[in-house]
Symmetry: none
Subunit: 228 residues, 2 copies
């Protein structure tokens, strides 16, 4: 997104266009921005072309709503600034969830060379082939899970192998059940499910802790400090 659109994006966010279509004219928007009507019109036009906003015309009025892309562009800005201005940085985040069986496809992805090499280099271990899925039942842990989405972790790059593209992810180093090292895996997706936490570890966690579905597991997450 172009830097000159940032004030417009923020204005739309403040007007509530994140959650619902808002009724606003280009004149009003221009005035709020301290710019001309024509520029507001152009910004909306261009932002629509870029997929940041949707415009709906109804009953002579124009309604503007930010798309998922628009909302997440703002969230990216917010996240950058949070790292600088939010004070609760290098503390430990705690999440407790219950073990459940996923589709088992985690083992496949984690074993791909393109990922495995990065895990070793950036996390310091080669993951056991398989991910551990935790279901987060308590709202308070789902909130922490959502906080992770906005935080900067250890970035794992996506890659291509000729056939298809594999997406990137953010990792957060973690201590599992206060005993075993591992990492939380936050995969870049379009849809965010805040009820599931995905873990990798150098060891077979089910074996290590003798876990079966429904058992509880505690994850202590160590966010990266904001130093660049």
């Amino acid at each position: 997104m172009k830097a000159s659109y940032i004030p417009t994006l923020i204005e739309l966010l403040e007007l509530g266009a994140k959650d619902r279509p808002i009724s606003i004219t280009t004149s009003e928007l221009g005035q709020k921005l301290g710019k001309s009507q024509q520029l507001a019109s152009k910004h909306l036009e261009e932002m629509e072309r870029e997929g940041m906003v949707e415009r709906i015309r109804s009953g002579g009025k124009t309604y503007v709503k930010l798309t998922k892309k628009g909302v997440s562009s703002g969230a990216a800005l917010y996240s950058s600034l949070s790292r600088v201005y939010a004070k609760n940085e290098s503390e430990t985040l705690e999440i407790v969830g219950t073990v459940f069986s996923g589709l088992g496809e985690g083992a496949y992805y984690v074993s791909l060379k393109g990922y495995k090499k990065q895990f070793l280099a950036k996390l310091g271990f080669e993951p056991f082939p398989g991910t551990m899925n935790l279901r987060l039942d308590l709202p308070v842990y789902r909130k922490v899970r959502r906080d992770l989405e906005t935080m900067k972790g250890i970035h794992i790059d996506g890659f291509k192998d000729g056939k298809r593209t594999y997406g990137g992810a953010e990792c957060f180093k973690a201590m599992l059940n206060n005993k075993v090292d591992g990492a939380v895996l936050v995969i870049e997706r379009t849809t965010h499910d805040d009820t599931v936490l995905e873990l990798i570890s150098p060891v077979n966690l089910r074996k290590q802790f003798n876990l079966k579905d429904g058992d509880e597991m505690r994850v202590s997450i160590f966010p990266e400090s904001s130093e660049a």
Copy 2:
């Protein structure tokens, strides 16, 4: 500040120029921004002219530090975005803590007519004379406790009785141990202790749940839906 400088400002913030002079060349800055060296140079020049940054030349290197004005420009952006993104609304917040004995002065305050009347009117109950103190041992609950500080609850006004002044507070309706109604009391203080949660309830909680010091208690908090 010009919109086109926002990414530059954010980059400098992320590099730590908020707290100390950072050593950076215009080439490096330009590269980080995905722009040219010349532009980075111009941005720094212009931002210095506007009083957003200071540049110090020492030992052949150039150091850049944001001024108070620069830091607060970033803070303004952050605050706008916070209002939009930092809301944890209408969900239930969960806190678990352990019972401990306070100084017992809670009973005195809660019984004051100036407060008692407001509790009845705004919370719908007259509190049992005495507050329940929970110690928050887990960091995750202390985080929720801090979140409460920034949230708007049910406001209890302060008052004067001729002799002295009594401060205000924010209340959050809560369900205690999934059974009894009550409220969390967030007292307006200068010092914030995020390890203690203070509760009021129409009933004697120690008697109701047969609690002694060290026992656990679960608090489900219902934040007001309107935003602070």
